[in-house]
């Protein structure tokens, strides 16, 4: 078993397309690392480079201490689970599982023992005589995982292995994969665009965008302390509310200017963050939907909003709120040209399933002052000191 190290890794397709840009990261031995990001961010390309299915344009990839840039896939001692299972359709489950061992010239008896062991671990012992077409989606996925496990590789690579499964099966397999990974303790790189998978499965999550690593942290740290507005907006469902706001001096300290309304910023943020000057360019202000609470009375840390839309999800309701100006009309808070600010005039709040709010209601909402986020207006980087 071994670690995987990326050192200034680059990947270009032709002259113009940069798929991976100066990527540096170490996946420790036994660690479960999730690579997450929007489509086209380079996460699958990175995984394929580790597998040896794509050439490395620049930088180094090491598995353990061995530089693998120019090694063929066979000599890298890795195993990969593909998005579409990639089971050999003309072979039985047994033959599929035994194939990598056969290629390694493992003796038949030993191979049979190993295949049986892995099949039992995955609960597919009964299916060994079947062809892949006679299996359900979940069973196929187990076989695909089994084919990776059977080789006892130094590193597991998984490319969105659950994306073709239905929601219920996905939950089940999520737990199953995490369990097996912990059991075997093999360094694993798992690519997904599903945030729930990212948050629940990995020891650490690496967020990518445009080929660049944005942040790599534990799921909770990533959620609580995003290093930039992209990570803040990407992680979490629904994502963090991001509003462009100016800062203003008040008797009590500093306030955020949100259209016609003011929101007091607790003084602690002046020390914990590099807030810009009040006459400066302003900030991108962020607050998570679960930190937006309905209140009965107006206060310095509350805003007047109107309910524009409600989405009942069963266990909770997502309420889309627009900020309201002094006359009770919808305020155009921002004429925003910064693309990262996804909903400049809207806030999304998570409310309990019994909340009796209706579209058109005016609500007084309090934004939890302990969980404010501030990002630089231009670079999008977090203004938190030490971030």
């Amino acid at each position: 078993m071994a670690s995987v190290t990326f050192q200034n890794v680059n990947k270009r397709f032709g002259e113009d397309v940069v798929a991976v840009d100066d990527f540096t990261l170490t996946v420790e031995d036994g660690e479960f690392l999730i690579l997450v990001g929007p489509s086209g961010c380079g996460k699958t390309t990175l995984l394929r480079m580790v597998a040896g299915l794509e050439d490395v344009t620049g930088g180094e990839i090491r598995i353990g201490n061995k530089l693998v840039n120019d090694l063929p896939p066979t000599e890298r001692d890795i195993a990969m689970v593909f998005q579409n299972y990639a089971l050999y359709p003309h072979m039985t489950v047994y033959e599929n599982l035994a194939f990598p061992l056969r290629q390694k010239k493992v003796r038949k008896e030993q191979a049979r023992h190993r295949v049986t062991e892995v099949a039992e671990l995955l609960g597919i012992g009964e299916l060994l005589g079947r062809k892949p077409r006679a299996l359900s989606g979940g069973q196929r996925q187990r076989v695909a995982i089994g084919r990776a496990l059977v080789r006892e590789p130094q590193t597991f690579l998984m490319d969105e292995p659950l994306s073709n499964l239905d929601a219920q099966l996905r939950v089940e397999m999520r737990l199953e994969i995490a369990r097996i990974q912990r059991l075997l303790g093999v360094a694993t790189v798992y690519v997904t665009h599903d945030q729930i998978e990212a948050m629940t499965m990995g020891d650490r999550v690496a967020v990518m965008r445009g080929g660049k690593l944005q942040q790599c942290d534990t799921p909770q740290d990533l959620y609580d302390h995003p290093k930039n507005d992209f990570v803040a907006g990407f992680m979490g469902s629904p994502p963090m509310n991001l509003l462009r706001a100016d800062l203003e001096s008040t008797d009590a300290g500093v306030a955020l200017v949100l259209g016609a309304q003011r929101l007091a910023v607790p003084s602690s943020y002046a020390t914990s963050h590099h807030l810009p000057r009040v006459d400066g360019p302003g900030v991108v202000f962020g607050v998570r939907p679960e930190d937006v609470e309905v209140r009965d009375v107006s206060s310095a840390d509350s805003l007047i909003t109107r309910v524009e839309r409600r989405e009942a999800l069963g266990a909770e309701i997502l309420v889309h709120l627009s900020l309201v100006d002094a006359e009770g009309d919808n305020a155009i808070v921002v004429n925003d040209s910064v693309a990262v600010v996804a909903r400049p005039t809207m806030l999304v709040a998570k409310m309990g399933p019994r909340s009796g709010v209706s579209v058109g209601d005016h609500l007084q909402v309090r934004l939890n002052p302990d969980h404010f986020h501030f990002f630089d207006m231009n670079s999008g980087l977090s203004l938190r000191r030490g971030a």
Partner: protein, 281 residues
Amino acid sequence: MVVGNVRRAHTVMSARLVLLSAGAVLMILPFAYMLSTSFKPNALVLSIPPQFLPHQVTTSNYTQAWSSNQFGHYFVNSLWVAVVTTLASVLLSAMMAYALARFQFPGRTVAFGLILVGLMVPGLMMLIPQFLLAKKLLLLNSLWGLVVFYTGGNLALNTFLLRSFFQDIPWELEEAMVVDGGGPWTRFWRLILPLSRPALAVVAIFTFLASWDEFTWALTIINDPSKYTLPIGIALFQGQHSTSWGLVFAASAIAIGPVIAIFAIFQRQFVSGIATGAVKA
């Protein structure tokens, strides 16, 4: 309205059936007449009016055809040539198709273009150059001379068909095999060929038929009667002054046997191969 639609559908269906039946009769009639004639005594072969169902049935044409002119020997020659040609042509064209479908190398497009050009040149135009080449290669008057040139002649079409099929096999399967330790040969033998059975059946049938039926090239390069193939053997029954059609047709009926056997063996694969190609196109 609905009644009108149903009536129109019935009319269309009836017209289709009539057309299909007429087509089927046109196709089957010569074959049926050949079979019928092969069972007639020689005196009744050209009787007027013609007998579609022979009043007097005899198998003497079959026994005579099989035992005269070393017919059995020609049959074995043809079978050997067709089987070896089919194996060689399918294997070589599969390897070429795999390279053209899956590997990047300089001149790939040009190579494929040349293969397509090969498809467009009529076979008869190649007769003299091929003859000269066969002479240089010492392949005249030899069954290997048939095998080599039949194989070459079938490569273009087979490669073209197989390349299209191979291109549709998902890349991920090959990548999975690469990660599992499979090199190009392993992938070809253990993945591409097993997954291409329908296409391989199609090209095998085409090649077998083409080499089993071939007459002109065989007549051109074979002089030794012991090396004649079946089409030449059947032609021998046609005399300069008279032809015993009963014998010719019995010999032809015998010659059809292996073709029917090949179809029966590969039928399922053949049909699904044709269907797969149609859907993917």
